[in-house]
Amino acid sequence: MDPGWLVLYVFVFPGLLFLLAYALFMEYVDRKLGARIQNRVGPPFFQPFADLVKLLAKEDITPEDVDPPAMRAIPILAFAAVATAFLYVPVIGSSPLAFPGDLIVVLYLLTLPSILLFLIGWISRSVFSTLGGVRVATQLFIYEVPFFLALLGPALAAGTWTISGIVEWQRANFWVVVFQPIGFIVALIGLQAKLERTPFDIPEAETELVAGPWTELTGRKLALMRLAVDMALVTGAALIAALFLGGPSIPWVLEPGWLATLAGFGSFLVKTLAILFVLAVVRMAMGRVRIDQLNDFGWKYLASAAIVQVLIVLFLNGALIA
């Protein structure tokens, strides 16, 4: 690929700039949907942007006894990890940066914000942050395994570890969700838990721990961390759309090429927003579970369901080859 195009791809579209804009838009859609379900009007469309700018301009307090460079670095790391992960997820056709095994890298990069959130809770020297951080780590061990297993299904079926490859395979065959519905549901639940949204917002449970690991964050750090989570929402939704719903591919051939790309982009938007819709409705229709209840649920049902799904995929693969 032409290096000029690559720079454009990484920084403008569908890289950083688009990601930022889409993340803010997603947050708006999420909040607005929630408000409508709750019988309210909800925020205006520029609200996430206003919040971001305001937080960036606010005083930045570093609590006593906290290592300032570490505190400063963590939100930036989280932001960078998610922004990088997004580059490998196909938005308009395949990603030019795709390489064998990029699915593993994306999953790893998406785990980073949670670990960093735990770290920032741990170093904040506040009881609420520490407990929140410990809860983040506990929750991480509960949802990561089923989430990874669920995302393993499409890769096994397609026989490739590149996300773009899985998308291609789906274009040739059919959407993964058709024969892996369990995996799809587990992946959605895992994403909800990863993003710490109700009913899995245990780490930042407002009524118990003020704001969990977020308690001591101010100004820029808070802004970046919020943005990282919004971007993780986009990346996670895009990832699930790519792995289960055929990503930006469209089932029929369009001419000319730019029209196909445009249609692919449209299908990307529709699919991610549909996933967001499901996540938002779940968020609004439920209360928060306790961490021990999540532990029960995660290991008893979620992990078993994911394993069953993987076994089914393996069996089907074997049957097809035989």
Partner: protein, 393 residues
């Protein structure tokens, strides 16, 4: 992980009111609990001794903004008893209407807050939306949304006109329908069930021993309701049922409150339809003869007691207020030990604490205040010993 002290409050988002628990948690399990509650102490009892009856009523209204009518009614009926004055039936029924509307707004408020405590914000928003209907009725009846200013010694200060009665009656039916919907929602929503059932359980014996009152006691099948057991302001003639439940946990308390909401709708409807004609207020003497009255009242949170001593002047010699929240605190502190950190808000909220009532005077520490850290076995032993001592009485 070592034991952590989690300070909950006095500024804490779960409880918009100031209270402080030092929760000593081992990981997620509560090991010990230290309560410190009097952040709202303002000294109202002292002030009540220095002001005359007319000025005490607005003061008592501001003991607590949620149960403002409860405090004034308890006080007024105590003073009326000391003076030997009878309030005309119309005035009494208007008091009942306001009291039951207040119970409705308080219970709806509680239901929303309980939803908020478990992160179920949609329930919170929906109940508070319907609470606005009650608030509208209260505003039309009394002229104010929160501190009604309705009571005076000798009766009520505003009469209800027939068009207003019709308007209120029209609002009741949709409200009742909504309440039934919430009852259904709470019974079937899985996360609510998971968070409410089996949490903060009190047996009937414990509920009696710790002196709980109101919905907290009634959820542990203690059949105790001042409205029926010691009828006041016309409750003797009004048909209603005392709602009890045998589960004793937060879920039981929720069901009791929802049941009481429906009963309140019934009472308000009955009272509106059967308003007798006549005056709403009688003139009272300026002072009260020497007397001693224990005025009990079933506030939304339970039995409220005003102990009033008068001494031939227009001021009380002593006004001693025992609020329902104060009576319920001991049970909370006991039932929280050993439970999960995440359960604190919901268990505390389950008694519907009204801290500005409570801290107007006092408080509490049921456990011994050791500074040493107890091991889990020691704690168990302590718990067993504690219950044995309490229940042996």
């Amino acid at each position: 992980m070592p034991e952590v002290v989690v300070p909950i409050g006095p500024y804490h988002p779960a409880l918009k009111e100031p209270v402080n628990f030092k929760v000593i948690a081992d990981g997620e399990i509560i090991v010990r609990l230290e309560l410190d509650l009097a952040y709202n102490h303002r000294g109202i009892e002292k002030a009540a001794e220095a002001r005359d009856f007319v000025r005490v009523v607005p003061l008592l209204e501001r003991v607590c903004g949620i149960c403002s009518h409860s405090h004034t009614t308890a006080f007024c009926k105590g003073i009326e008893e000391a003076m030997g004055v009878t309030v005309p039936p119309r005035g009494q029924l208007i008091r009942v209407i306001v009291a039951e509307l207040e119970r409705m707004h308080s219970h709806l408020l509680w239901l929303g807050v309980a939803g908020h405590e478990i992160g179920f914000n949609t329930l919170f928003m929906w109940t508070w939306r319907d609470r606005e209907v009650v608030q509208d009725m209260l505003e039309e009846l009394t002229g104010n949304r929160v501190n009604y200013g309705m009571n005076a010694v000798g009766g009520v200060r505003r009469d209800i006109e027939p068009p207003l009665v019709a308007r209120c009656l029209k609002r009741l039916s949709p409200l009742e329908e909504r309440i039934r919907k919430y009852a259904d929602m709470v019974r079937h929503e899985p996360t609510t069930l998971a968070r409410f059932q089996g949490v903060g359980r009190l047996t009937k014996e414990q509920a009696l021993a710790f002196g709980t009152v109101g919905p907290t006691a009634r959820a542990s099948s203690v059949d105790y309701d001042i409205r029926r057991d010691d009828p006041y302001i016309g409750y003797a003639d009004i048909p209603f049922d005392v709602v009890t439940d045998g589960q004793g946990d937060v879920f039981g308390r929720t069901l009791v409150r929802i049941g009481e909401l429906l009963q309140s709708v019934r009472i308000v409807r009955y009272a509106l339809e059967n308003l007798p004609p006549g005056p709403v207020r009688v003139n009272t003497p300026r002072g009260a003869p020497k007397a001693e009255v224990l005025s009990r009242y079933e506030a939304p949170r339970g039995e409220l007691a005003h102990f009033i001593r008068t001494n031939n002047t227009d001021k009380v010699e002593r006004l001693d207020i025992r609020t329902p929240t104060l009576a319920n605190w001991t049970s909370v502190a006991v039932s929280l030990v050993g439970s999960n950190l995440a359960d604190i808000p919901v268990v505390v909220a389950a008694i519907d604490p009204c801290l500005s009532c409570t801290s107007r005077i006092t408080i509490v520490d049921p456990g011994r205040r050791q500074t040493s850290v107890m091991s889990w076995d020691e704690l168990r032993a302590h718990g067993i010993d504690f219950y044995r001592r309490k229940e042996g009485v």
